[in-house]
Amino acid sequence: MANPTLAAKSAFLGVQSLKHPAFTIEDLSSLTIASITSAKGKSAEVKAAIQTAYGVALPDTPLRVTGNGIAFIWHGPDQWMAIADRGTNNRDIEVELKPVLEGKAAVVDQGDGRAVVRVSGTHVRDVLAKGFAIDLHPSAFKTNSVAITHAAHIGCIIWQIDAAPTYEIAMFRSFADSFMDWLTHSAAEYTGRH
């Protein structure tokens, strides 16, 4: 039997990108994602192992930390998500982290579980405010801030990556198309596109 070739496909079935000064959408379908859940009482060991391997301190509060080509997103008490680009070598963050955290944490691939979208533009906060019931004003939500919440009834993790501001939003992959529908409709008054 021939070896099937598996190719990564976008979870966003309709719109995958939108470029408008008011609102920009970029589908991040080239990511490798893994969840890290500390074993009971082992979060200090998990933090030490990640510090040694990647030179970053895992946060205890809703924050994102970045190392060399990798980001760790707070994902609840003693839990984080590791995110990196698959790149040309097809990097697999689950395979990479498992030996680092052996016996300390559960490491599970989320690459086929989560979809991530990047949004920016002059009206990005106005668009997101239609669904996210959290305060995204710079006085409350800054670069590297993280929030686990929901938008348009869809569970989301949102974090800010720069002061532009640019945000990245992760949701369960099966909700991606529905989320994109909400996003493009919310942006329509600024972009003129439905």
Binding site: K47, A133, H150
Partner: protein
Amino acid sequence: MRITCPCCGERALDEFAYYGDASVKRPDIASPTAMADFVAYSFDRVNAAGPHRELWYHSAGCHLWLVVTRNVANHEILNVEPARDVARATQQLPTPGRGSA
């Protein structure tokens, strides 16, 4: 009504699920008085018009179980604690040697 989660900050009520009275402890089913104990556990409530300790779950957020002290007469939230801290303080959970929590 808004609840200030110790992890996530102030969030709207629709992110939380209510579980029930946090002041009762599930009885031992092997006890000879289990039937009476479970009837009391399930149905006997003081139902005072004032502060009440209740279990809430941050279901659309960090997934932490919380003990919320809420004035049932006016919905004022008086205190929010992680339920695991409360359980440890009342000896229902062992305290693991850990850096966080």
